[in-house]
Symmetry: C2
Subunit: 206 residues, 2 copies
DNA sequence: CGGTGAACATACCATGGGTATGGAGAGATC
DNA sequence: GATCTCTCCATACCCATGGTATGTTCACCG
């Protein structure tokens, strides 16, 4: 029988993480105080320091929280049905939409490399969304859909392009339009990278 | 006759900026205290607050400092001799090399969007290196060298890809090799975007 | 039903950004 | 050349905030 106390404890912890996600999304890491975060979670700093070793650790928990949501969505798509090409296009679309989420954009994309340090961020992303971009590209190459480009750097280029473009989308007056434009440009790039000399002759997109 | 006093004042100011660039490059914006910066410039916080309104303002001065160096180099290339295509390739190479400078990378690329806020960073970059990427792409399109893609978003994608790739280069065990790989991938992308149906038939690069 | 430890709250410290004030000395004015 | 002024900078202080040390409560265990 699971203890009632443990339920409370976990609830407190997740309340702190949710509070951190919300406040950091609004005011940024540096602009958010621990007292604020604790107050919004209706606890004190004592509780916060009981669950987390410090501000950085709480940020990383917030990072994991927003990142895992996006990862789950992308993972379903990238390892789901359809051809590698179809999955890549669907994944691309999903990633752009994910980047429109203010929390994911600010916490996972923008502040994380600075707050956690680029090395730690890279490691984390390797296991998350960047890992999917990378493996997706690898699948396309393995399937002979696109030319054999250097996977590591190309994936990095793609990920960087997408995440920076995402900010452009989100802060544009007409996000839908800009989002569609960006998706279009990327797709056209991919199409041009596509092998036209292979057995597949008809592109599946216009 | 220029006052001796003004010379001293300006010297103090630039010493503060140089000190800020150096320390922020090493330990980041949040990890660098104003006392440290002042101490390294052999003045006190009083002098610092006489020349700058606060920590943010000093950071922006440091940003301008590193950014203007890169901008000058790129500007000479992008508005120099040669065809738009040649200038684009040379500019690409120069930008990647610039991103290898730890100061430019950390201050201008990574921390500036977080510290200054993305809006201010975007405005600043618009007048600097990003502006050159954008105008370079525009020139290529105007000259009929590449397909008419949406300039704004494509430039943003390119800039994002390059700056994130720069970090990959700099933190790689073999920066030269990774740098060459990235340049190669980008060039191949550009070549594929190149109009082959136009009057120009022979690509100028291998 | 007393003991124990997890799950917090409270009180405090230290660092560092920002401010208020003082002073020194170069240049202007007479 | 005496004084006056104003820039340039130093010193001393304030206070917000991350972090710590200690106290307190209360569920579970024996």
């Amino acid at each position: 029988m699971r203890s009632r106390r443990l339920d409370y404890s976990e609830s407190t912890r997740s309340a702190l993480v949710d509070s951190a996600v919300e406040l950091i999304t609004k005011r940024g890491y540096a602009g958010t105080s621990l007292d604020e975060i604790a107050k919004r979670a209706r606890v004190t700093k004592g509780a916060l320091y009981h669950h987390f070793s410090g501000k950085q650790a709480l940020f990383e928990a917030a990072f994991d929280s927003v990142e895992s949501l996006v990862y789950d969505r992308l993972d379903k798509i990238m390892n789901g049905d359809g051809t590698p090409w179809e999955r890549a296009l669907a994944g691309l679309n999903a990633f752009i939409r994910a980047c429109l989420d203010p929390a994911y954009q600010r916490i996972a994309i923008h502040e994380a490399p600075v707050v956690m340090g680029w090395e730690r961020w890279r490691e984390a992303e390797e296991r998350c969304s960047f890992g999917l971009v990378r493996s997706g590209l690898q699948s396309l190459i393995d399937a002979g859909e696109v030319e054999p480009v250097p996977v590591e750097v190309t994936a990095r280029l793609l990920f960087g392009a997408l995440s920076s473009a995402a900010t452009e989308i989100a802060s544009s007056p007409d996000p839908k339009k800009v989002g569609a434009e960006i998706e279009d440009v990327i797709v056209r790039m991919l199409v041009r990278l596509r092998r036209t000399d292979g057995e597949e002759a008809t592109p599946s997109i216009g």
